[in-house]
Subunit: 318 residues, 2 copies
């Protein structure tokens, strides 16, 4: 008879993690291996990498991105023709990003990975802190002002594209985990924009030669398991949340999903797979967009002026 505290995989080690949705009890070694295998299988199922890819990992310094960098460094060490580097965007958030930047750099040094840092200040001539100050002043006379996260999201996406290009990489790796992806799916539905869920997927092909393809090797790993992997493997990361917290709706969806997962183990996976079934239909219904050059910055865009330029112009920054 197996001891109830013995790992159900190797039947030797002491179980340290109970994976409720699968019924497995895992020892530290098997748990670590299971996460790495999950990442490998996600990568291979979605054909994320070629043996000679130049891979840039978006590393914020937080739990997910730092952990992913460690896992990818391990995997890619077996592919000598592939290169791996980290790109970090410094939005300019005092008392938050500076600490995260240090941790990102420290992890890159430890892993021997090249680290490219790019800042809002050098790209857009404004730090996020100052942008938020501008927004706060504006919101006194305007009621329809967007949240800081809406601006930050658009500018960070642009910054990541530019950093990836600077790093001469053809793949941009994002550390979105299963929880992030499922939250985004429900957020889109609850925001009234269900068609957007077509874009919530593990691998997004490039839409223009100037953009690298974006891949998410952690998209099938629950957040909790990434945290436990980092803990077991003594990975250091920034744990302070961003002072400009995510929107109230995302926070509520997150709470609700965790509650559902607790009562119906596997809910997050089921939602994720459920959307897989309708994605082809949604993708087929979306018209292909033709990209042109932004008349202000030259980046590929659907309109005359790209979104980052439009946002910055509206704020009187550029």
């Amino acid at each position: 008879m197996t001891d109830t505290h013995t790992c159900t995989l190797c039947r030797r080690g002491d179980a340290v993690y109970m994976r409720v949705y699968s019924g497995e009890k895992l020892c530290a070694k098997c748990f670590t291996k299971s996460i790495e295998n999950k990442v490998k299988s996600t990568i291979s199922r979605h054909d994320m990498f070629k043996h000679d890819d130049k891979i840039a990992v978006a590393v914020s310094g937080g739990k997910d991105s730092v952990t992913l960098l460690h896992i990818l460094a391990k995997i890619e060490s077996k592919f000598p023709k592939a290169t791996l580097c980290a790109v970090t965007v410094d939005e300019g958030i005092r008392g938050y990003r500076d600490e995260a930047l240090k941790l990102a750099a420290e992890n890159c040094r430890k892993l021997g990975v090249k680290h490219v840092v790019i800042s809002f200040k050098e790209l857009f001539d404004i730090k996020l802190d100052d942008l938020v100050r501008l927004l706060t002043e504006r919101s006194k006379c305007q009621t329809n002002a967007l949240s800081p996260c809406a601006y930050c999201g658009v500018l960070r996406r642009r910054a990541l594209n530019l950093a990836t290009r600077e790093a001469k990489a053809n793949k941009l790796v994002l550390a979105h985990n299963l929880d992030d992806e499922v939250q985004t799916i429900l957020l889109n539905i609850m925001h009234g924009d269900a068609l957007r869920i077509a874009r919530v997927k593990p691998a997004l092909e490039e839409k223009h030669p100037m953009f690298a393809a974006r891949v998410k090797p952690l998209s099938e790993v629950p957040e909790k398991e990434i945290a436990f992997y980092a803990y077991l493997n003594k990975i250091k990361f920034q744990s302070v949340p961003c002072p400009f917290a995510p929107t109230a709706l995302r926070t509520d969806i997150r709470t609700m999903l965790n509650r559902m997962e607790e009562r119906h183990a596997g809910t997050k996976f089921t939602v994720f797979k459920s959307i897989d079934k309708i994605r082809p239909a949604l993708e087929a219904s979306i018209k292909e967009v033709i990209l042109q050059e932004c008349i202000l910055c030259g980046e590929p865009t659907t309109d005359e002026i790209c979104k980052p330029c439009r946002m910055l112009r509206e704020l009187g920054v550029c």
Copy 2:
């Protein structure tokens, strides 16, 4: 200056209902009118009825169906060529359905509406109570037995089709409300069967000449507002819930949605409208099914034997 307790529509009556998602405060008269107008606009937007339709309303005796019968009787009184009748399925649930049946009959009498009652016992030679007993015995030796609701749903749908035909109606009206529809959408996603949301819509065309088209005029009215309409208009209905409660997952989704609605007024409407945007894509991706006659009962079916016959055969009933 308007009194804070005055109806925001007529500016005369005392407000008795605060509609959080629209910011309206309504008096009893305006509230009642607003619900009836909402039903009318849903009917007209989805082209639910023709002036000479023969309409059968599925009346369980509960809040939603009885209220809808009252509203439709009012609307249809203006269309002399249309006929309205009620169809009730007696599943055979002692201490529950008998009470509901009385209330359904009472409301029909009051409104002068013909009432057709059809029972599981006469159609399938088994009451739901006995079917549940059979299932309980089975579940002792089988672990993958379906819930009573799964059987009841399939048999009730068949019974409603037969009752509609008996009533010579060409439209079958279901009293699903906004909450029901949004719950079903999320339930499908969380069950891993997102493609099914293509069928969650206010008007479903007939798939076969033997089936009446199914329409849901309450699908844009929140459950809470139907309850309040019934209360204001002194409509009597069965308020005891079915002893074979809905599945745990639906109950949890219901709680979660109510919580989200409380924190983000309008969430239910947004989800409902959000799905509208992807439905055409989903419908286009679904292959048309060819219906044949069930070799046992002759009803239209996709397989050789229809689902109700298959279920009853498995249970040894037919």
